[in-house]
């Protein structure tokens, strides 16, 4: 049994890590690691960066092709796609957010890890309203692979 099947938290070792320069460009990180019959991310990707031979295969992202457009973040029903970009000692993380209250641009919100623990503050730098609202936050660079959710306290 894989540990994530018991905890509901991804084992970071299972994720395919992009190279530093790919992270500087900004790429999609998928935390969809279990075979399930699903493919909207692959269908929506404008650069064909997502490889999936069978609908049951987990997505495999080609970080060279990915342009970090975050369309897959918006469409994914599993809320398992994130875009991470490193810039000037900070990490910008684009994540799906389907809760209330919605933050506003410029707000400082709580940055949460994969277990919902507060690990620092995050600044909201962009919001895109769509079928699922997606929010881009800025956190300290070392939190790039740690922060996966926010809490808005209003």
């Amino acid at each position: 049994m894989r540990s994530y099947e018991e905890t509901g938290v991804v084992d970071i070792g299972m994720l395919k890590m992009p190279a530093e320069e790919q992270l500087r460009k900004g790429v999609a990180i998928t935390e969809c690691i279990q075979p399930i019959p699903c493919n909207p991310c692959k269908e929506v990707c404008p650069t064909d960066a997502i490889k999936m031979d069978d609908i049951n295969d987990p997505p495999d992202i080609d970080y060279e092709k990915c342009i970090g457009c975050s369309l897959c973040v918006e469409v994914c029903p599993g809320l398992a796609m994130f875009v991470v970009r490193k810039r000037k000692g900070k990490a910008q993380i684009t994540l799906p957010y389907e809760m209330l209250p919605m933050p506003e641009r410029g707000d400082i919100v709580k940055a949460l890890d994969r277990e919902g623990n507060v690990v620092g503050d995050a600044k909201v730098i962009a919001i895109k309203h769509g079928r699922t609202n997606i929010i881009t936050i800025e956190v300290d660079e070392e939190l790039a692979m740690v922060v996966r959710n926010i809490r808005v306290e209003k």
Binding site: M1, Y4, T7, P37, I55, N56, P77, G78, L100, G116
Partner: protein, 482 residues
């Protein structure tokens, strides 16, 4: 206890309606059921058991469990969870006797004669109606006991999984409205009408009632498709009958259809997809989820659903279950504990969690009873989760002209339910008057369904279906030789 704001849903409540609960004046909204109006007024205890006087509230929320029955306008045993609230209604607890002046109108009798009658307007039933309407010139009728079409779909605020081709990425509620619009083009629809029986007088007949309007229908049909969905499984633990212990679907109904919260904070028993999705939906409605407990060593639902709620700080305790619900008139807490290899509680690991509701999400059982009444042979098939109606690849049961589709046939997913509904409809149509392209249509639908059942999560359905077909053919052979 109304949901004040929601990130996905908009609740457009109708006008105010006055009603009386045990003589006390209360208000609900047009569009409420009696049960949701009571809940919105903070009433959880609907009555007491006749003998032991244990408090009673609603459990399933879809008219299947009888836990919510009350006397309404003098008529006893009304299922308040599916009965729309009306102006001036008199709702009473603990009254079982018939009133002295009979409130009964002599029921109005209506007869109908259709080619295909579909019982249940969920995804399976609606897909069947649409398919029948598209391929043939037949009269189709959908009967559903809910106030609106859609079945389980109308409660699903999450984006559906599956292939982009079949609408994955859309939310359940969106799929339901799109299908409803289509279905209305091809079929007549009777809502708030329960099918209560089947009989055969040389032809198939269904008996259905609209209890509130006092109409009894006698429906003659050439073919019947039962798309009646499923029923929630129950779990044995101490005080499991307290108001505040609900089926997962019941919570989804009051919360996502009627905009009424089940409570302030709860726990969920079962970490399959239903339990995980329910947890997420509760968070969206502004309700706290203190824990999800799962008896198995691993989370049964999709990992991505688990990760979604974990990110919001909801703990999932695997190898744990609920021992006891705590509370007098309604739930005030839950005691959970760890399980050992033999499924016994490990003493000393008990934890008390303060909560005002407990959601049971441990699985569903197909509702095949009506099909059985219509002559379909049923069999206990473990892979299918219980007693199921035997059927063949065309969804026809062992009773001629009686079909079953969707969760009623075997618990699966909405997309599979739709395809099964279509297969049943095409076969029914073809046996009324042969279609020229029958083989081709069926072939395509079959391919669609087998690709859905291909992966690891489809394995159970694959096995269940094999056993169901096997049983069907055994039964046929048995009949011939015997």
């Amino acid at each position: 206890m109304r949901v004040e704001q929601h990130p996905i849903l908009k609740f457009s409540h109708g006008g105010m309606i006055k009603f009386y609960f045990n003589g006390i004046e209360m208000y609900g909204f047009e569009g409420d059921t009696i049960a949701t109006a009571l809940y919105a007024n903070g009433i959880k205890v609907f009555g007491h058991s006749a003998k032991k006087k244990r408090p009673r509230g609603f459990f399933c929320g879809i008219g299947k469990c009888s836990s919510c029955m009350m006397r309404v306008n003098g008529v006893p045993n009304i299922r308040t969870c599916i009965t729309p609230l009306q102006e001036g209604m008199i709702v009473e607890s603990d009254k079982y006797d018939l009133p002295e002046t009979a409130p009964y109108r002599k029921p109005e009798r209506k007869t109908m004669d259709v080619d295909i009658a579909i019982v249940g307007g969920g995804p399976a039933g609606m897909a069947a109606a649409i398919e029948a309407g598209k391929h043939g010139d037949v009269s189709v009728l959908i009967i559903d006991e809910q106030p609106r079409l859609g079945g389980q779909l109308i409660k699903q605020t999450h984006k559906f999984f599956g292939s982009s081709m079949e609408g994955a990425g859309k939310r359940g509620i969106e799929i339901a409205s799109e299908m409803e619009e289509e279905a209305r083009k091809y079929a007549d629809i009777l809502l708030e009408t329960s099918v209560i029986g089947y009989y055969n007088r040389g032809h198939h007949f269904l008996a259905a009632v609209n209890k509130l309007k006092g109409i009894v229908y006698e429906i003659k049909a050439k073919k019947i498709i039962f798309a009646t969905g499923a029923q929630e499984n129950y779990l044995v633990f101490e005080n499991n009958d307290l108001p505040g212990v609900y089926g997962a679907g019941g919570i989804q109904t009051i919360m996502n259809v009627y905009g009424v919260k089940p409570g302030k904070a709860g726990i969920i028993v079962g970490a399959g997809n239903v339990g995980l999705i329910l947890a997420y939906q509760l968070l969206q409605a502004g309700v706290k989820v203190k824990a999800i407990v799962e008896a198995m060593p691993r989370i049964g639902g999709y990992f991505v659903h688990a990760a979604k709620v974990r990110r919001h700080g909801v703990p999932i305790y695997t190898k744990h279950s609920i021992m006891e619900a705590v509370g007098k008139e309604s739930v005030e807490g839950a005691i959970i504990a760890q399980l050992d290899e033999k499924w016994n509680f490990v003493l000393g690991t008990e934890k008390k969690i303060d909560c005002d509701f407990i959601a049971i999400a441990i699985g569903l059982t197909p509702s095949a009873r009506l099909a059985q009444m219509a002559g379909a042979k049923v069999k206990f098939i473990r892979e299918a989760g219980g007693w199921v109606a035997l059927h063949n690849e065309f969804m026809e049961t062992t009773a001629n002209g009686i079909y079953i589709a969707g969760d009623a046939a075997n618990i699966e997913e909405a997309s599979a339910a739709m395809v099964e509904g279509k297969i049943a409809a095409v076969h029914a149509l073809n046996s009324i008057s042969p279609l020229t392209n029958f083989e081709a249509i069926v072939e395509e639908l079959r391919n669609e369904i087998s690709s859905l059942r291909k992966g690891k999560f489809g394995e159970k359905a694959r096995l269940a279906k094999e056993r169901i077909y096997e049983g069907y053919y055994e039964e046929l052979r048995g009949n011939r030789s015997g």
